[in-house]
């Protein structure tokens, strides 16, 4: 007896979002989000809390309705054929959990049944996953007794029961210790290597940097930047020269000197308490040299300086409008006009 009657082949791209939009009352949770995920590709959706990451995942996985736009998985429309789409996806993380009262083995058995895996295949798959993810030690205890790391592992494994071609991981490593995190990263890379299309949301820049082939940076429900990790870093196209002064009194002079040296058209951050100037100097090392030389000639007492390469943090902060180091005394930063980097 089989529970399946038709054999179809999902096409590439496996996941496609076209102008996804969702409001909750007056709150626009997601606005016009479009992207595609090919087989074996990992797309990282990166953004702060409340940026719309979970809502995006929930729309793609049929958990909430789509207000405008559309989405497809394996060529099937999420809005019109949710029952087909659900056969092609696995969901883990914030968006979907497991049964607390059931053991890991029972949870996997239950989900295997609901995916209509034949009994032998279901049993085999459960045992394979338990072994592969090193869960044997706690597989027969109810999930409510698990540690954070054990819970996360079961969450992710639960999404893998039917070996779905599209996997949605909503902050899969939130709250994990570094060792569990890197184990899970390896597992996720392994799945992509086998051809699974993966959408992964995260607040961790490092996680997106490590795992994603393509990153969507979202803020207030909109995509504010996207590209490969390297492209995004290049977008920022600037090294940052951090200069620490010996003396708070010299800060204003230092700011004036810096403007004299490299011009007023620079977004400079001043941290008075730390006596620190962070000055974007572009990719040209000569600029840093000019600046430092000028400061020495003006007699500004420098205690320390370093040249910092752009990290995804810089991209993130530049594009989401957050400030890396607000002046702690609340005074407006004198001198240079602020250049908004928002597209």
């Amino acid at each position: 007896m089989t529970m399946h009657d038709v054999v179809e082949v999902p096409r590439d791209p496996v996941v496609e979002a076209r102008g996804l939009t969702k409001s909750f009352g007056d709150v626009r949770a997601v606005m016009d989000v479009s992207f595609t995920v090919g087989a074996g590709q990992i797309v990282g959706v990166l953004g702060p809390n409340g940026a719309g990451k979970t809502t995006t995942i929930k729309m793609l996985t049929t958990l909430v309705s789509i207000d405008a736009g559309s989405a497809g998985v394996g060529g099937y429309d999420v809005g019109h054929q949710p029952d087909v789409v659900r056969q092609l996806i696995g969901v883990a993380g914030q968006a979907a959990a497991v049964d607390e009262k059931l053991t890991a083995r029972e949870n996997l058995e239950l989900f295997g049944r609901l995916y209509k895996l034949p009994r032998a295949q279901r049993r085999g798959r459960t045992e394979t996953l338990i072994r592969q993810f090193d869960m044997a030690e706690f597989a027969d205890r109810p999930a409510e007794t698990y540690s954070g790391g054990q819970r996360r592992r079961l969450d992710v494994v639960a999404a893998l029961v039917a070996d779905p071609p599209a996997l949605f991981l909503d902050e899969p490593t939130a709250g994990l210790d570094p060792r569990s995190r890197s184990e899970l990263w390896n597992a996720i890379r392994g799945l992509a290597d086998q051809g699974t299309a993966i959408v992964l949301t995260t607040q961790y820049l490092e996680e997106a940097d490590q795992l994603a082939d393509h990153i969507l940076l979202i803020d207030h429900g909109r995509i504010v930047a996207q590209g490969t990790p390297a492209e995004l870093k290049k977008d920022v196209e600037r090294d940052v020269l951090e200069i620490r002064l010996l003396d708070t009194a010299a800060i204003d002079t230092a700011v004036d000197t810096a403007i004299e040296a490299i011009g007023a058209d620079v977004e400079m951050a001043v941290d008075r308490r730390e006596r620190k100037l962070s000055i974007p100097v572009g990719a040209d090392p000569a600029r840093s040299l000019t600046l430092l030389t000028h400061m020495r000639d003006t007699g500004i007492p420098i205690s320390d300086f370093q040249l910092r390469r752009p990290t995804l943090d810089d991209v993130f902060l530049a594009l989401t409008g957050a400030r890396e180091s607000e002046p702690t005394d609340g005074a407006p930063v004198p001198g240079p006009p602020r250049r908004r980097n928002r597209p």
Binding site: M3, H4, D5, V6, V7, E8, V9, P10, R11, D12, V14, G38, A39, G40, K58, T61, T62, L63, V64, S65, Y76, Q81, D83, V84, R86, Q87, L88, I89, V91, A95, A96, A97, V98, D99, E100, K101, L102, E106, L110, F111, R113, L114, Y115, K116, L117, P142, A158, A162, D163, P165, A192, D193, G195, D213
Partner: protein, 275 residues
């Protein structure tokens, strides 16, 4: 892996437009899967079962020894014989209230989102639950019967006892779909608990479960005689005591059908709504 894969095979195949037969088979499969899950949960939390049995025994002892003398004398009946079938229906009704509370608690858990993302019949989550609660009711009703016997109660026959337990459970099953609809609409376990007082107490007390309708004021009698708990009490009484209750059985089955026709689609559509 950067190589572009243009097709991929899926060993399971896909169900795209299932025939009604296949869709039904899949829905039954899903319901039995959820039933399995909820039965494990019931066994792991025996307090719900214990609570239902204790409440049943509580009503049995309280009404028989406290009110039994006056109600029995007033209506000129053997009160224990009258009471036990009523308590079976009341116990089944308590079980239905537990469906409401239990489902509301369930809906706050993340596993419900997982269910919604799975290729399963969405009604199966509630159907599995109401069926698991009906099974639990069979057990708790049997335990209540086992307490009634040492108190001096006698069923007219074993088949009568079985039929009585099954009919009470059937009504409880119908009412549990109503409880499920309330839970799916309200979703907050505390609010669902408060709300259940409003339907549970009138249905329970303004009925022929504990006292004959003749002793009540005339304006109340039509409601009392024909509301589902009363028709079920009369029917279960007829089956358990061997006194016959054809009309009451039919009326009860009618109530059951009505509850299912209204509340199955309603609870499933409320469950599917975005929150």
């Amino acid at each position: 892996m950067t190589e572009q894969v243009t097709t991929m095979t899926r060993p399971l195949g896909l169900v795209v437009d299932p025939s009604p037969v296949l869709a039904t088979r899949r829905a039954i499969h899903d319901t039995t899967s959820v039933l399995w899950r909820d039965t494990i949960r019931t066994l792991r939390q025996p307090d719900m079962l214990a609570f239902a049995v204790v409440m049943g025994v509580f009503f049995l002892v309280l009404f028989n020894y406290v009110f039994g003398g006056s109600i029995g004398a007033g209506a000129n009946i053997d009160y224990l014989t009258y009471l036990v079938p009523g308590v079976l229906v009341i116990t089944a009704l308590q079980g239905a209230q537990q469906t409401s509370m239990g489902l509301a608690a369930d809906l706050t858990e993340g596993v419900i989102d997982r269910f919604k993302s799975l290729p399963m019949s969405q009604g199966a989550v509630i159907a599995g639950r109401t069926l698991a609660d009906a099974l639990r009711n069979v057990v708790s009703l049997t335990l209540v019967c086992l307490v009634a016997i040492p108190m001096g109660y006698r069923f007219s026959s074993v088949s009568g006892a079985v039929a009585a337990i099954l009919l009470a459970t059937a009504l409880g099953f119908g009412v549990s779909w109503m409880g499920a609809a309330i839970a799916a609409r309200v979703r907050r376990p505390d609010a669902v608990g408060m709300l259940s007082m409003f339907w549970l107490f009138p249905m329970m007390l303004a009925s022929t479960a504990f006292a004959p309708a003749e002793t009540m004021p005339g304006w109340l009698q039509p409601f009392v005689r024909y509301q589902p708990v009363s028709t079920a009490s009369d029917a279960v009484r007829g089956l358990a005591n061997g006194t016959g209750a054809g009309d009451a059985i039919l009326l009860t089955l009618g109530w059951l059908a009505l509850l299912l026709v209204v509340f199955i689609p309603l609870s499933v559509s409320l469950y599917r709504k975005d929150v």
